[in-house]
Symmetry: D2
């Protein structure tokens, strides 16, 4: 049984484990005061092309989202998110638990547009309603789509005009940036958003997300927020070592490229087999629509999520690839699929 | 420069790193649904001697405290803690941030007693005040003292009589249980408290605390709380693998014994040198009171915290040892201390 | 200029003011410990036909909703509400500010049905999502519709089957119970919901909502919640005196009947004039769809909200009547409307 | 049985009730948009001598404190209060329920000093602790003492130097300003604090506290906070009418003077009878220390709180007077006291 269920099924890239071993007995200060974290942060500032950003390393996506968003908003301010947004659907009300409403927007493809946001703003006119303040986007989105530079720039300009903060959840930012469809560079992002995070957990780390705060007004006292939310690891080095390893050369991008390449094989083979897709997803998650009978056969050797029932005979499944996905297993899946198709 | 600043200065015990390497490419479900976590939990249930407890693995102490305490209390209920309690002093108001007041009790030695708690209860008589509901203790305490079985039993009986929950922060539980003064067994604890955690971060793990919920009424839906607080790691295996390794034989206890042994050397040598202590601390933290001139000399080769000014000429320092503390460095510290004393 | 903007444009019914004067110099305990509050509560228990409910008097609807809902839910539990629900739209995220998500349901007429709720339940399957626990309904709804006894009974049975709490916002309960369409008695309600409130502010009081807690498990320590949310008035008598006056005979119902009668005149005359309505609303709020030109004319002498643009030439307006609405003004509005229609 | 238990035992001053009657049928907008509230606010700006403050009318002290303090602080910031402070002792953790710790300071007389606050600041050095940000004082304090202009000015300067907000709870501000010991004018206050409130509930209103926000940075969007906390009354006029009546001439001060005069009689007679006091309290609350036997006798005809046991034979009681306290009852109390003393 091989799993395409998600991109966190294995441990860490071996180079990361090796870096942990190599540094293991160096004594360091706790809570991110260690040299590894400091070096990682300096390195990442270079990689994003900006000295003046603040970078903090956290353990996971939900933790990063809830810590950042609750730090950025005043009590009556709300976030706006696509209805597919992770904070809306799969974080157990973590944002609301910090006191903030999330305003949901139905989208075609998981991506928000200025005109959609404008409708929300127009509906929130006075103090009897929350005040929309932060636009939450994911790149790649939860359904595999990615933002173009043009789309992001449009959002940026809109947010500035309406005094909104723009926050990008980058749990799968590596995959987005390495997509064949992508025209965005990591160095473009700090000018386009007020804060974003670079996901490590889903791109080769044991755990870790690097929150990059670009807007000056959001930086103040952020470590207080981290500590208060339980997000400061005593052995902060654990995060620093990993991010340093991911970024000291191009490992971060190589891992994402591999994940995307594996997804591309699956996508192309599904296309060749005349299957359609729930959504256009040029990253490491694809959602082909398959006959239920085929799904049942594939489930004998592969695990994956059935995402959505399409009609009586077909369902969309989700296939996720990662830095660790083995090409031979991808090829095996394709072969199995073809074999099943020939048999029917 | 050798550090006695804390017990999280190094990485993890090598066996733990090895276990991560060995398991690295096994595909597993996320969020604690992996076999390693399940095995670790089963094993720890054996070690605490109770099948019917619930065990959850979290990343750090503040996270564990805030998740557990906010889950256990209703909005108007408060915790009671010694004024030295970690939740009162060093968690940036994390408990209050979840909505709950902590009632502070001055103690001699960091340990709470029934009579002290009773005074708090008597002061909280009606709905104009919070309702004290949870007694927070640390074992070992933040100043190195430990609870005897008798003391814990007295607290237990008092809490039951007054319908209070008893929660033990076990960030340094290993050191407490391995102290020469200790008469408490790990298997005693589930009957004595409603919930407690077994600290991994300060006893050889990269990160990780194992929360053990003993009282049935506190167990329900706890994973919702974990997720909502950002405490569910996608690669939950990272915690499971470590705790399994710590408990599959006696590694957890061996590491704590080593830490204690190193502290004992320091404690005994300070006693021989006629130094007194801020407090009796039979665990891995000691607080000798030294002349400031000696402290200045020692700081040239060793890092540690100056804990408290005692008088114009003397201060208490904190020396913390751990699983990773090297005996040669401890001996070196002692020699340096003796040498300095002879010179003056 | 006469206002049909809302049902809280005037002060209180004169009998209520007189009751305040009559009792003014009687010395009483604070915070609801006064005889007036106690008598009002006893009286209201009779009126709802149940000795075993708990009744608390609060100042306003938002305060009542936020205090009750946050008291009833555990941190990860969510409310379900119609998308028109007051807690979703016009309380500035007050429920979210207490930490709880509200799951929104699109409805035809502001009323929730079991099948709609079931869909929400099915989408919330595990600990990565909030747990739907409380169904919030308003009666009358925010758009003037009311629940039949059959509809409420169906909701009740569904909630019991799925272990959900059913909470009714009764800001306009008087109007609902006095509607010509209504088949529900006040004495029916305690068996049909877990908690509800009887609105005073919109039915003749200066301020005041009476929260009735029917389900035993929700009663415990509720006064702690009240105090913590700032909802315990020092001079609680102010609420007790008013509710006693409203319920010592049938004043509460007479006032609602008057409001409904005034709305009925407006509704019928709009119907006679061949205008349609945004929604069927047999209570004290109606939403006729009028030509914009007519609206402009009417606005010269009457104030009311333009609720929704229907097409280029027509809009729905909201007309609200109350215990204080003068029939002569209603007749005047009708005459003005007719006159305008004849002129065009 | 006559009550000296508190200053909210009766209803409202008759002029206030009359004002409610006079305005009762005037139609007004809700939520403070009415002319009465606007006029009251304009008038109070004159009375405090500053056009540029923002004034909001709320229902009660706990509500005002929790709304203001949670609006003024960022999540990790804390308040500092005397251990006798109302927010620490008698508000059921309302501030903590909004997420903020309160740091308690032991004082002699309920009043904070710069040197006491400085100690707190020095103990809070980094992000592992909350950040003290707001100094909460009460004037008059909960034990009847009042601040001199010099003391307030010192606090002010200290707070500015250390970038702290100074907030004054004025539940009994009228009594403080009318004390024989007072040298502070209402017009002095806006320059000395960042925000304060003028208590109506304890000085003749049915309910109502007027929050005055002096510091510009605290004003923004405050009505959102009000609504979110359930603090916006639909019939906001109820508050506006009362404050207008209290301040359209000197009624507010006359009522406080009467309360103080009644307390002075009690204070002086207790002094003449050679009784000492728990604390110097030149306002409308006094705390004489009486023999328990005398207390028992007095309780037959008067209700009051026994505040604190002093020794085996004596206790401090609290006597509170108000605008409504009858001089004949005060005289009666004194006579009874004297009679009892003569009998023993």
């Amino acid at each position: 049984m091989y799993s395409f269920k998600n991109d966190y099924s294995e441990g860490a890239h071996p180079r990361i484990l090796q870096a942990l071993i190599d540094s293991n007995f160096v004594q360091e200060d706790g809570y991110g005061g260690d040299q590894f974290t400091q070096k990682a942060i300096e390195l990442m500032k270079e990689k994003v092309g900006r000295d003046d950003v603040d970078i903090h390393l956290l353990s996971g996506g939900t933790q990063t989202n809830l810590t950042a968003i609750s730090a950025f908003l005043r009590p009556y301010e709300a976030a706006i998110a696509a209805s597919t947004g992770h904070i809306l659907t799969h974080e157990t009300g973590a944002i609301e638990a910090t006191g903030h409403k999330i305003l949901s927007v139905e989208t075609e493809n998981g991506k928000l547009t200025p005109s959609q946001i404008k409708i929300v703003l127009e509906l929130h006119a006075d103090e009897h309603m929350v005040k929309p303040k932060l636009v939450y986007i994911s790149n790649a989105t939860e359904i595999g789509s990615i933002y173009t530079k043009r789309e992001l720039t449009d959002l940026r300009e809109f947010c500035q005009e309406y005094n909104l903060l723009l926050y990008m959840d980058g749990a799968r930012l590596g995959s987005a940036l390495c997509s064949d469809d992508n025209d965005l560079k990591l160095t473009d992002i700090p000018a386009l958003v007020d804060a974003f995070y670079i996901g490590g957990t889903k791109n080769g780390a044991l755990l870790g997300e690097a929150l990059v705060i670009c807007h000056d007004s959001l930086k103040e006292d952020f470590r207080f927020h981290l500590k208060q939310k339980g997000a400061l690891l005593a052995k902060g080095r654990l995060l620093g070592i990993q991010f340093y390893e991911l970024f000291r050369d191009d490992l971060f991008f190589e891992l994402a490229q591999h994940a995307n390449k594996m997804a591309t094989i699956l996508r192309e083979e599904c296309s060749i087999a005349q299957f359609s897709f729930l959504t256009h997803s040029p990253s490491n998650q694809i959602f082909p629509i398959l006959p239920n009978s085929l799904i049942t056969e594939l489930q004998k050797n592969y695990s994956f999520y059935i995402w959505e029932k399409i009609d009586a005979k077909n369902s969309a499944i989700r296939l996720v690839t990662s830095w660790a996905t083995k090409e031979e297993e991808v090829r095996g899946f394709v072969e199995d699929m073809k074999r099943q198709l020939q048999m029917h």
